[in-house]
Amino acid sequence: MNAGEFLPAACAALAATSQAVWLVPLLPLLAAGAIGCRMLLRPQGDAAEPATASLASGSALAALVALIVFDLAAIGGCAPQHVLAGDWLRIGPVPVRLSFLLDAYSLPAATLVTLISTLTLRFSATYLHREAGFHRFHCGLALFLAGMLLIALAGNAVLTFVGWEIAGFSSWLLIGYAWQRPVATGNALLVFLTNRVGDAGFLLAIGLAVWSVGTLEWAWLDGDGTMATVTARLLAVGFVVAALVKSAQVPFTPWIARALEGPTPSSAVFYGSLMVHAGVFLLCRMQELLVQVPDLLALIAIAGLLSALYGTLCALVQSDVKSALVFSTVAQVGLMFLLCGLGQFALAAGWSAAHAGWRAYQFLLAPAFMHLVPHPAPPVPGWLAGRMWLYTATLQRFWIEALAHSLLTRPTLALGRDVRAFDERFIDPLVGAPRVDDHSPSGAADDLIRGHGLAGSALFAFANRLQRWESRLLMSGEDSALVRQLQRIVHYADTVETLLEQPRYLMLMVMATFVVIL
């Protein structure tokens, strides 16, 4: 066989193997499942560790090899751009396919993700040796790899979303790794919820895409050029919010500083190098759509610039290695967002790849940093230390978190308590139920039966009224019941008014108005 025959044959074989790209995210997923099944049997001791470690890193390695083959095929021009592996479900007329993209963005991203994850998995097999959560950690990391590979390779928005949420959930798992510490689990919760806000944006965009574009495939999501700017803007906003949250850009930055509670290897891959770049990747993926909406691009650029400043300033005042690293990551990713906003998507993607590699190395080195660096960390620069207000703001991380807490978290929790009280004090008595703890003053022991709730009380009131009417035929007298009733109504109105004056109800009413209008 000479070269002239060999090359086309090899090319066809490579193209055929590329059809199996669905295996790439599936392998780590299966590894996570297998480790999960192993955990059902509660493995203990040193002897159980190698099997788990090799399951995780073996699957990652297999995915890496497969990806390198696909890379070669793509370089040789043999790989198909778009691979279909059946339907997943169907939203009305729009099918959600198991489709994968093998293009210049997805393949390098997937290869890099797998490479860094493989190395990290190897690293953590030693780093977490004899830790109680050894298996849990590997399960979470394999799950994360599956999610990231889905994000990178997915050919449509729903599959990307699946990866997006799986990555978010595995970060919850790993931040809460040291579950005995309340700080760790609290931070895990906060991070997951912040990510969930971005996921809501993603879902919104998916819904709009189904109805306005009629497809969910990334390749056709930008429409046929006839899409109105308004539609394109609405569609893109959801994705952009999701990207901003995932990449911890202003104003969603605070979660990333909270996310460092996990073991160092997981911090390295999640927030140092891989997950934090998912937002940049998403922006690159939908660049055709974004360029139709210049004002949104400007917004992205501004958010990126602000995040870069924010990250730089905050990084200067951090006192521990991981926090300093993570804020400088935010700054770098902000610059990538700025590039995306300026339309330089390819540059941003290349930068994110280089940054991911370097940052993963730095994070993995972080535990040994004090060892490696003989001189103490440089002090806060004079221009910053001199300006007290700026210094304070930087130390407080510009109060974003406190603001979100008092504007969003606290009102929602208070609303929850109010709703509970409403149930217990209002609806329960209204529906009426003989409660064990019911010691109402009217409950005299000589009552044979007693009315409960609206229906029961109405019946009783009716009976009493009848009786009174009958007795009034016999004797009439001054009746102040009406006055008392009126006073009671005034009292209720007062209560309602004081409630309405509270900002959360005002906000609620505004929101309700919006819901009704829309």
Binding site: M39, L40, R42, D87, W88, L89, R90, I91, G92, V158, F161, V162, E165, I166, F169, W172, G176, W179, Q180, P182, T185, G186, A188, L189, F192, L193, R196, V197, D199, A200, L203, L204, I206, G207, L208, V210, W211, T412, L413, L415, G416, R417, V419, R420, D423, I427, D428, V431, A433, P434, R435, V436, A455, F514, V515, V516, I517, L518
Partner: protein, 502 residues
Amino acid sequence: MADVPWLSMLLALPLVGALTTACVRRAPWAQRLALASAGLTLLCSLCIVALFDSGDDGFQFIEQAAWIPGLNVSYLVGVDGLSVLFLPATALLFTAAIVAGWRSQGNAEAAGVAPGVHFALLFVLEAATLGVFCALDSLLFFFCWESTLAPIYFLVSLWGRGAGRQSAAVRYFLVMLAGGVPLLFGLLAAAFGQGGAGAPVFDLPSLLATPLPEAVQMLVFLLLLVGFGVKVPLVSLHTWLPSIALGAPAAVTALLVGLKLGAYGLIRFAIPLAPLAARELHWLLAGLGTLAMLYGSVAALAQSNLRGVLAYASLAHVGLVLLGLASFSVSALQGALLQLLNFSLAAGGGFLILSFLQRRSGSTDAAQLGQLFGRWPLLSAFFLLFGLAGIGLPGTSGFPGELLIIVAALHDHTGAGLAALFATVVGAAAFLAPYRAAFFGSGSASAKAQSESDPLADLLPRELAIALVFAALVLIVGVYPMPWLELLRPAAEAWVAGLAGL
């Protein structure tokens, strides 16, 4: 095979089980009989699904016999794509409930109740519930609907928990009885609404064939909405749910919350019987759904008891289902049905796990628990999985339904769709925050003392078996939802076409 009366067999098997277990005096025999009977019912329901022709959009396995000829009431049963999957879900939940409640005779035994009575009541409830899903005659449906009340009353008041159980049972009984009145009147109005002097029409296929006059439709729809709304539950009629969730034995709670009869009733009767009224009042359905969704997810935030959390979360879920129904589209209906089936797995599984937890720690109050993850990691992991299915994480059975409903809602009721997105965030908080408190948190002394006095290992084999079956189904449906959705599709298309054709 065609002439085997599958549905009658399905309904008869639990009744036979009820009779036999009630007669047995010795506990071990009652247990074996109960398990065999529940297993046979489950097998029978699986056979029905296997024999079901998924390409057909009409009713299958139809059986008809005269019941009250003078009133034109007949014993008419049949299933279509909308209802067929509820049969195995019901049978599975009951089997799990029987296995989970294996030895929990508790305080009723002290009261001198025979050991088999617990199982007998469960079987009567199972037969009635299956009847609700199979009945195609509106009076037969109503009969089955009301027959669920008596066994639930006795199950809750005899085997319930805490001082609140009696009042919870009474409250449930009264509220449901009150809800039955508009339901009955609605069904009667539909039966007599055709006008003319002819006999009332109770069988569903002929009711669907001849639409009612519009004024009657409005009346029928509103009456049925209230009647089913009590069971759904709609907000302001919902307070029986948390009290039942706290007072009832866990297995019964799993059944009550896991099987959304109210939403099924809306899909089967209320909307198809009154399509014009339903289309006109779509804003009411969507509004009630949005209200339930927001109310439930926000109220769940303030609950400290895990059972209360699940109860309010299920209120939020059923609100999402209502919102999906209000879209009147094929994909939203598929999503709503899939979401209903997901409850059976997620809420049912969650409450069963909580019953295991209750047996171990004596409490499900997050404020009294803590550090459970270290003691019972498997129990904690399974509860997490069911909770995640509840909040709709991709890869679990909660995601496809939620996606379909939200996408449809964003199109038809954009404001409500946005509210649903907000509810997904709050719902995640409402589950994970108490989860964190109960399973990771610091915990107090009382729960620890109790567990030390009665040290139980992590999940027992039979508990593990239940949890594994539910978990496997959650993952299978979540990873590959296509076949289930396709099974629902023809009937869903017929349902939507029936609405649109008017």
